[in-house]
C-alpha cells in the first residue's frame, strides 16, 4: 500500500513513520516537504492514504488538500496539525479530509485512524 506523508518537518514525518511501523508494516512510503510536492507525488503515485500537515511553506495544507481532492474526490486524506482550533477542523472536513488529529501522532492514534477513518 502506498502512503504519502506530507510535512515540512522531518521529525514530524518520522513520527508518522514510526507510528505506522506496527500498524502498516508493509506500506510503501512517500515523503513530501510541502503542498506542491505532495500534489505532484499524489498525481504520479496515486497513494491510498495521505497524512497532511497544514502550515507549510510554498503551498500550505489547505490548498494541497483542495488540489488532491480535485484530482481524486475519493482520496483518503488525514490532516495532522499543530493547529487544533475547531475552526481549522471544520475547514478541512468541509474540504474533503477524512479526519483531523492534533500533533504529535502515536501508534495508538494511528491504529484508531486505520480502524475508524479509513476505508482500507
Amino acid at each position: 500500500m502506498k502512503i504519502l506523508i506530507v510535512d515540512d518537518s522531518k521529525l514530524a514525518r518520522m513520527g508518522v513513520v514510526k507510528s505506522l511501523k506496527e500498524v502498516e508494516p508493509n506500506a510503501e512510503l512517500f515523503h513530501a516537504e510541502n503542498g506542491l510536492e505532495a500534489v505532484e507525488i499524489f498525481r504520479q503515485e496515486n497513494p491510498r492514504v495521505v497524512f497532511l500537515d497544514l502550515t507549510m511553506p510554498v503551498m500550505d495544507g489547505f490548498e494541497a488538500l483542495k488540489q488532491i481532492i480535485a484530482i481524486d474526490k475519493d482520496a483518503q486524506v488525514i490532516v495532522i496539525s499543530a493547529d487544533i482550533q475547531d475552526e481549522a477542523k471544520q475547514r478541512v472536513l468541509l474540504a474533503g479530509a477524512k479526519n483531523m488529529y492534533p500533533k504529535p501522532i502515536n501508534e495508538e492514534k494511528m491504529l484508531q485512524i486505520f480502524q475508524q477513518d479509513l476505508l482500507i
Partner: protein, 204 residues
C-alpha cells in the same frame, strides 16, 4: 561549550514549537474567546548582543510598549518575553474587561493574563514534548518606551542565547504582539540534550 544546532535539531525544535504554539492558540480561543493566528516561529541562536537589534527590528521605535517577562525553570529554563504595543494592549483590555475605557491597571492585568496563558501553554507543551518538568514564576509587566524594553547591560552577561520568536495576531480585535522565548548558556546545552533524546526515540 558547543551550542551549534544541526539541521535535525533545529527541525525538531521548530516542530515542537509549532505544536506548542498550536496548543497556545487553542487555549486562547477557549479561555479568552479570542481567535488568534500565530506565525511559524523563528529560531535564532546568536550572541547575546544581537537580542536588542532583533527585538528593535520588529517594533515601532517611537511607540510605548507593554513588556511582560516571565521566568521558568527546570532542565529547560529561561525567560518568556511578551511585547505588545500600547494600542494593542488597550484593545486587549477592552476585549477582556468588556468595558470601553479601561484603567491602566485593567490593561496591565489583561496583558499579564494573555502572557500567562501563552507562556504557560507554550513552555509546558514544549517541555512535555521534551519529557521534562517546568516551574513558572510570577510574571512582571512594565510599560516602557521602545528603547527601554531590554537594558543592554543586562543581556551581555550571557554568551549565547536562543531567541524563539513568533507573532500573535487577533484579527477581529486588532491585537498584535511578539513573543520571545529566551534561553542561555547551560540551558541551551540541556535543551540540545533533550532534543537529541527525542530525535533518537523517533528516528531510532
Amino acid at each position: 561549550m558547543n551550542i551549534e544546532f544541526n539541521e535535525d535539531q533545529i527541525d525538531a525544535l521548530k516542530e515542537f514549537m509549532n505544536v506548542s504554539i498550536g496548543a497556545a492558540t487553542a487555549n486562547l480561543a477557549n479561555l479568552l474567546g479570542a481567535f488568534a493566528t500565530m506565525h511559524i516561529p523563528r529560531i535564532d541562536i546568536c550572541d547575546s548582543d544581537k537580542l536588542i537589534p532583533k527585538v528593535n527590528a520588529t517594533i515601532d521605535l517611537t511607540s510605548m510598549y507593554y513588556v511582560t517577562k516571565q521566568l521558568f525553570t527546570g532542565k529547560f529554563g529561561g525567560e518568556c518575553m511578551f511585547v505588545m504595543s500600547e494600542g494593542s494592549a488597550q484593545n486587549l483590555g477592552k476585549h477582556l474587561y468588556d468595558i470601553e475605557n479601561c484603567t491602566d491597571d485593567d490593561v496591565n492585568d489583561a496583558v499579564i493574563e494573555l502572557t500567562n496563558i501563552l507562556t504557560s501553554t507554550i513552555v509546558s507543551r514544549l517541555t512535555q514534548e521534551l519529557d521534562t518538568g517546568v516551574q513558572f514564576f510570577v510574571p512582571s509587566s512594565q510599560f516602557v518606551d521602545a528603547h527601554s524594553i531590554i537594558n543592554i547591560n543586562d543581556v551581555t552577561h550571557y554568551s549565547k542565547i536562543i531567541i524563539i520568536s513568533t507573532i500573535l495576531e487577533f484579527k477581529d480585535q486588532q491585537i498584535n504582539s511578539s513573543i520571545y522565548i529566551l534561553t542561555k548558556d547551560e540551558a541551551i546545552e540541556s535543551l540540545k540534550m533533550l532534543i537529541d533524546k527525542k530525535i533518537e526515540e523517533i528516528y531510532g
